[in-house]
């Protein structure tokens, strides 16, 4: 009994820190709440394009485009991208304005696991719009040997 309890104890110690080293859907929700506060987030107007099946999670092309006239009166102020299972929930925050003409931002990201990504756009009148995408990753980022 003593030995069994000891083993169970060490197993818990070993597993816990690894679990906390990764973002969770709750961590993503918290990161989103930090940005939007209590404001409602509606689905639509945003499109989040990335391949549904990713072979190499080290570089995944991603484009966020928001349907907006991008005029001085009505423009997209910011685009935020969040993930569920990378070590941290934030991916990037881009700040835009009427000088951009089009509310489109492209980049390449890392994905540590198959997961859901969320893009949230904040318009100049304070509304939040979102889109999400599920991605399957066959080879995760960060697993390759560092040299």
């Amino acid at each position: 009994m003593e030995r069994r309890r000891f083993l169970a104890g060490t197993a818990a110690i070993v597993i816990l820190p690894m679990g906390s080293a990764s973002a969770t859907p709750e961590a993503m929700a918290a990161a989103i709440a930090k940005v939007v506060g209590n404001a409602p987030v509606r689905e639509g107007r945003v499109s989040l394009d990335l391949p549904p099946l990713v072979e190499n999670g080290s570089t995944v092309p991603l484009v966020v485009s928001v349907d907006s006239p991008m005029t001085v009166a009505d423009y997209v102020k910011a685009i935020h991208v969040f993930n569920e299972k990378n070590p941290q929930p934030n991916v990037f925050t881009a700040r835009l304005g009427p000088r951009n003409g089009r509310a489109v931002v492209g980049t390449r990201i890392k994905l540590g696991d198959s997961q859901k990504l969320v893009a949230i756009a904040q318009t100049s009148d304070g509304q939040f719009w979102s889109a999400s995408a599920d991605v399957i990753v066959t080879l995760a980022a960060c697993l390759e040997e560092a040299t």
């Binding site: 080293a21 080290s58 570089t59 995944v60 484009v63 993930n83 990378n86 070590p87 941290q88 934030n90 991916v91 990037f92 925050t93 881009a94 700040r95 835009l96 304005g97 009427p98 000088r99 951009n100 003409g101 089009r102 489109v104 931002v105 492209g106 980049t107 390449r108 990201i109 890392k110 994905l111 980022a141 960060c142 040997e145 560092a146 040299t147």
Partner: protein, 106 residues
Amino acid sequence: MANVLVNAPKTAKRGAIVEIKALILHPMETGFRPGPNGRIIPRNIIERFTASWNGVEIFDMEMSPAIAANPFVSFFAVATEGGTVELRWTGDEGFVVEERIAIAVE
């Protein structure tokens, strides 16, 4: 000396929307990865990318370790007047790189 690759049109019609693409050589080390000695490699990322058109900031991006190595960013800008677009990357370990490109507006 950092290597930067910028792709943007050299000339644009007044009021046209142009796409600017920028790529910079950088490891974007996450700070979550163990090195060959088993110790975590310290974080070394670009934290911020900004673009200014004739000194007016038009685009700003806060990056995280989830941005892939050799960060690529594409965005759009209205060609209001001819001039210089200044791109600036700043990050960990005092990383600062500036690149200027000229866009003529007719």
